[in-house]
């Protein structure tokens, strides 16, 4: 592994070692949400089948991958901006490609660790096993992660281009998709035109397919392939938009002014 990529991973590791809020960001929200959704699922199980109620937990765990994956990319950068250290990092020989590879590796590790912890807690607290997604699980998880990277890269481009006044997007951009992407309920209950919009996003196919797998054991390979294709498109668009906005930010001087 490139020494520079390793150094960025080291920076994130050191930061988490010293920062309680980073640990809170990573684990606390996931844990609290797991408790809420877990008990809600138990409550709903009284009125419907236990399995159907448990799909809420499937949605929650996969959604958490999206949240963690995107936050991991964007928050790392925000923390360096707040510390006035980003310009130091970008005046080293580090390339943008190495920078993103490091962010993606860190995002993957963080997501794997937190999701494993949450899945284990869900198993012991609610008897819920994410392994019921069988061989579809890694494909669902990777697709959600790919989309989180696309969202993270896009938000970073906006941050570099327009400055920290847009930092609220770090937490709020993907949340917009939560009501329409079929995270906790099938998109069939949405109005027709919203369903059509929902199908533009790869995560919709994954959330829909994961629910079916959880209830029936059937893994919808077509949905997985469609999600991969859409993710490839979204990642390409995200990288292109980042490159365009980064170049523009260097031209307007906004990138150099990011740290105030």
């Amino acid at each position: 592994m490139s020494q520079r990529i390793y150094s960025l991973l080291l920076l994130t590791y050191y930061y988490h070692k010293h920062s309680l809020e980073a640990m809170v960001d990573a684990v606390w929200w996931s844990l609290v949400s797991l408790l809420v959704f877990g008990f809600m699922a138990m409550y709903l199980a009284r009125g419907s089948s236990e399995s159907e109620a448990a799909t809420i937990l499937v949605g929650f765990i996969l959604w958490d991958i999206l949240r963690l994956g995107q936050d991991s990319i964007t928050l790392t950068v925000l923390r360096e901006i707040w510390s006035r250290n980003l310009s130091n990092i970008f005046t080293t020989p580090l390339s943008v490609k190495e920078f993103f590879i490091a962010q993606m590796i860190m995002s993957g590790i963080k997501t794997l660790v937190v999701t494993s912890i949450m899945s284990t807690i869900a198993y012991y607290l609610y008897g819920f096993s994410i392994t019921r997604l069988s061989w579809g699980l890694p494909f669902y998880a990777v697709n959600i992660l790919l989309f989180s990277w696309a969202a993270g890269i896009f938000v970073l481009g906006l941050l570099f281009r327009f400055g920290t006044r847009l930092q609220a997007l770090v937490w709020s951009l993907v949340v917009v998709l939560q009501p329409i992407a079929g995270v906790f309920y099938p998109i069939s209950i949405l109005p027709n035109f919203v369903q059509r919009i929902a199908l533009l996003f790869p995560i919709t196919y994954i959330f829909e397919a994961s629910r079916v797998t959880f209830l029936t054991g059937y893994v919808d390979t077509r949905a997985i392939i469609t999600a991969f294709v859409l993710n490839a498109l979204y990642l390409t668009l995200a990288i292109w938009s980042f490159a365009t906005m980064f170049r523009k930010a260097k031209k307007t001087g906004e990138f150099a002014r990011l740290e105030g």
């Binding site: 920076l11 930061y15 010293h18 250290n85 390339s95 260097k250």
Partner: protein, 306 residues
């Protein structure tokens, strides 16, 4: 002397505003060049372009003969910056920060390198402290260590001694001087402390409103200021001095009863002394205060030299 940096017709415009107006300059191997100018002169924008943080509108930057735009990684691995205005990651320790940057610069044997530099800049005791808990002066020293990790051939120093106490600032300057002497490092040095600039710079570039308005040795630049201050201590009545001052149009200032000060063109000093003697003024002491770099800076900032 080979150029480590060559800047050619560098232009940066933001809409209709020109921050840097087609400036050209170079820095030779082992040369220390002061980069001065009032606020808004274009220094920061130039430094940002030299570091690749801002893209020039036109013109070129070459490091070690290579075009920066085409060889970014090669160039950045051989230069570094120490700025009083950037900080490192505040939440982690000094050692951890330095370890990260040593890796980003691909420094071989980083542990040894960090130990060597920390020893020289008296930072050993701070290595395990969290960066945000350091004083401003300590942070500046850590930034200096960070800037030396990759053994740079060119160092950009943006007010490196700001917030250092005089003793540590002097040590830092001595260290910078030794860097040049022992390792032939070239330095682009910005500071508002003209004594420091006079002490360590071989050459000074003055920037104003995006243009280079003067470029010379510190001594050569002071010669641009034609005026000197004459301070005379005299015996007896000050009336003849006041009369002579009125005749010659001098603005006199009497800081003490028997002392007069005024500013005149350097070439007129003998004439004035002779004229006062003729008026019967008996001078017991004559002190000429020659212009310093500070005066050049003030004159440029106030539009006097441009």
């Amino acid at each position: 002397m080979a150029n480590v940096l060559y800047v050619s017709r560098l232009l940066k415009s933001f809409g209709s505003f020109t921050a840097v107006n087609r400036i050209s300059f170079s820095i030779g191997e082992g040369e220390v060049v002061g980069f001065l100018g009032p606020n808004g002169a274009g220094k920061t924008t130039t430094i940002q372009m030299l570091l690749g943080l801002t893209e020039p509108t036109d013109g070129s930057i070459h490091y070690f003969g290579k075009n920066f735009a085409d060889h970014r990684s090669y160039c950045l691995s051989r230069i570094n910056i120490s700025s009083a205005f950037n900080t490192l990651q505040g939440r982690i320790t000094v050692y951890e920060n330095l370890r990260v940057f040593a890796g980003l610069y691909n420094v071989p044997n980083p542990v040894k390198r960090i130990a060597e530099l920390s020893e020289r800049l008296e930072l050993r005791g701070l290595l395990n402290k969290v960066y945000k808990d350091l004083s401003a002066g300590q942070k500046t020293r850590v930034n200096l260590v960070k800037s030396l990790l990759n053994n740079p051939r060119l160092l950009l120093m943006d007010e490196p001694t700001a917030s250092l106490d005089p003793d540590i600032a002097d040590k830092a300057l001595t260290f910078i001087e030794s860097l040049r002497k022992e390792h032939n490092v070239s330095i682009l040095f910005t500071s508002h402390n003209m004594n420091e600039v006079t002490r360590i710079c071989d050459r000074v570039i003055f920037l104003d409103k995006g243009n280079i308005v003067a470029e010379d040795t510190p001594l050569g630049l002071t010669k641009l200021v034609k005026f000197a201050t004459l301070r005379l201590t005299f015996d007896g009545n000050k009336k003849p001095i006041i009369e002579y001052g009125a005749e010659e149009g001098l603005t006199l200032h009497f800081p003490r009863t028997q002392v007069v000060e005024f500013t005149i063109e350097e070439q007129n000093i003998p004439k004035v002394i002779f004229g006062l003697s003729k008026k019967g003024v008996y001078m017991t002491d004559i002190d000429t205060q020659k212009p310093r770099l500070e005066q050049v800076f003030l004159d440029i900032a106030r539009g006097g030299l441009t």
